[in-house]
């Protein structure tokens, strides 16, 4: 059974030049897809735009139809206390459990700040966070 806390993030390959993010955003707007959070990772001449959207399958289709290279990546969203020490709590849970964070980005939502994590052992991470009293976003919000 699918883990209810594993969220499907879409990742989009993008050249590092003006207008590319606009093109991606325009495509999502055209498909009436809402973006909860996104980040841009940049390298030498190119980048990867990562986004949590309300309907990832449709976003995937809209972008690939326009020729974008898109993939799904499993991430988890952890609610953080929006005050000093919030990030430290989450990071130490994972550090103690020897789970490596490949990348992370955060957004400040309506009720809490959310840390989006890409980790090397996702099932482990979910178990550890829940056992230590952490709160995770449910994937059902993103499909």
């Amino acid at each position: 059974m699918e883990n209810p806390y594993i969220i499907k993030q879409i990742s989009i390959f993008s050249e590092n030049r003006p207008g590319r993010l606009a093109a991606i955003a325009e495509a999502l707007k055209g498909a009436e897809i809402n973006i909860f959070a996104f980040s841009i990772a940049e390298a030498d001449g190119f980048g990867v735009v990562r986004a949590l959207v309300d309907r990832p399958e449709e976003a995937y289709r809209a972008l690939t139809d326009l020729g974008f290279r898109v993939s799904f990546t499993e991430v988890v969203g952890v609610k953080m206390r929006d005050e000093p020490g919030g990030l430290s709590e989450i990071a130490s849970i994972l550090g103690d459990a020897d789970i490596n964070i490949e990348y992370a980005y955060a957004y400040s939502g309506r009720d809490a700040a959310v840390l989006i994590l890409r980790v090397d052992q996702v099932e482990d991470a979910i178990r550890q966070i829940l056992e230590r009293g952490g709160e995770l976003l449910e994937a059902s919000r993103f499909r």
């Binding site: 993030q9 190119f46 020729g67 990546t73």
Partner: protein, 433 residues
């Protein structure tokens, strides 16, 4: 199958070279005495027939270029009287004025002999039915292949080009065993046949393709052989040399250049200096036994390598590799000759990137830089930057080792590179600006 002309084809190399020297010497004396164009050329170059004392002395003779043939339009370079000619072929004038090639009876004879040997080396002979789907007419492909196939006792089906469905019906009904055409036309035939519900592999007797008149690759050979269930052989020639003349043998390891008919050299396209076996350069050909339109050290503009070793088939004549590109497409990066076709060839072997590319050449200070833009393949796209950097480094490494020059690679979005052939879009050279 035994060679068509074993005495010549299996002649020991030193004997072959003595024969080549004798023929070269006779050719040079004849042209110096009777051909104004060649006498003037030799005088300008300060070379006299007496200076040709060894086979290597061919290098003293001046080169000849396509423009010489165009300037000689229609028959000013010809060395035979008009009433000795039995045929004309005319090459298309897509890159300038057309070129007229005249043939004496002997010229047609050696051309036919060349292809008789070649087709025999592909395992063809009496009992084979050869469908000639090269164009008949001013183009040399159709008639050249036709005469060669008839000479070895094969039955010729002269379909020429076009009306593909009919060609496929005839291929089935007349039990065609070999076809001579362009590789792209054969692929087209395969597709049309499938639409007709015919499998060339299962429903025809076709077992060999003699393919050429356009550049093609090893990958294309594999595809044709696997899909159509035949052996695909590369054929080479140009109208200036007479037409298609040389093919691979059943070993498929290079095209045999009959040494008693042609003296092939590989030279540096920039300096004209001779290059050794295995070194990539421009094919330069002297046709040793041609009467109407003599050809000495003709710079064809095709890039290849020479293999001087004896072939496993037993034929002793030197071989050239597949044509790798055109001199016109050559780039010089930090003094190294680079061909876009090499880039394409390398990229085709890396599944992480597409086969489309763009080369941007620039100059940073005094140093040339070469950037190759490639599209990330679907399977290779990873969300992780580090994975993508590994792809980039891998492509850079592979290009560097095949081109011998440092290359930067830029990963670009799919569909963003020009799809159409043509140097103007595939190569952007900013150094001249």
């Amino acid at each position: 199958m035994a060679a068509w002309n074993p005495r010549i084809e299996e002649m020991p190399r030193d004997e072959l070279q003595r024969l080549q020297f004798k023929l070269l010497k006779m050719l040079v004396y004849r042209l110096y005495s009777f051909n104004d164009f060649y006498r003037r050329r030799m005088k300008d170059a300060g070379v006299h027939p007496d200076d040709i004392r060894t086979l290597d002395d061919v290098r003293k003779l001046p080169f000849m270029y396509k423009r010489d043939l165009r300037d000689g339009y229609p028959d000013r370079i010809f060395s035979a009287a008009r009433d000795e000619l039995v045929r004309y072929h005319v090459s298309s004038g897509t890159t300038g004025k057309p070129t007229v090639v005249g043939y004496t009876r002997h010229d047609v004879e050696i051309w036919t002999e060349s292809l008789a040997r070649a087709f025999t080396s592909c395992g063809l002979g009496r009992g084979d039915v050869v469908q000639v789907s090269y164009g008949y007419g001013l183009f040399t492909g159709g008639l050249g292949a036709h005469y060669g196939a008839e000479r070895i006792g094969a039955t010729v089906l002269p379909t020429s080009v076009g009306n593909t469905e009919r060609q496929i019906e005839l291929m089935q009904d007349l039990h065609v065993t070999a076809i001579a055409c362009t590789p792209s036309y054969l692929l087209h035939m395969g597709e049309v046949a499938e639409k007709m519900g015919v499998s060339i592999q299962d429903d025809t007797d076709l077992r060999a393709g003699i393919l050429g008149a356009e550049p093609w690759s090893e990958q294309m050979r594999e595809r044709i052989q696997d899909w159509l269930g035949i052996r695909a052989y590369d054929i080479y020639g140009t109208s200036e040399l007479s037409g298609p003349m040389f093919t691979e043998c059943t070993e498929q390891k290079g095209i045999h250049i009959w040494g008693d008919l042609a003296l092939a050299e590989i030279v540096d396209p920039e300096t004209g200096e001779p290059l050794g076996p295995g070194e990539r350069g421009e094919l330069t050909v002297t046709i040793l036994q041609k009467e109407a339109l003599p050809i000495i050290r003709y710079r064809i503009g095709d890039i290849t390598v020479m293999d001087d070793g004896t072939c496993a088939c037993g034929r002793t004549h030197p071989r050239i590799g597949r044509i790798q590109g055109r001199v016109d497409d050559m780039l010089i990066i930090r003094g190294i000759n680079v061909f876009p076709s090499q880039v394409e060839h390398t990229l085709m072997q890396i599944p992480d990137v597409g086969r489309h590319f763009q080369i941007v050449v620039d100059r940073r200070g005094a140093l040339d830089t070469m950037l190759v833009r490639v599209e990330v393949a679907e399977e290779a796209f990873s969300d992780k930057i580090t994975d993508l950097m590994v792809v980039k480094k891998k492509v850079e490494h592979r290009l560097r080792s095949s081109l011998n020059v440092g290359v930067d690679v830029e990963l670009v979005e799919p569909g963003s590179l020009p799809r159409f052939e043509g140097k103007s879009k595939k190569v952007i050279d900013r150094r001249s600006m």
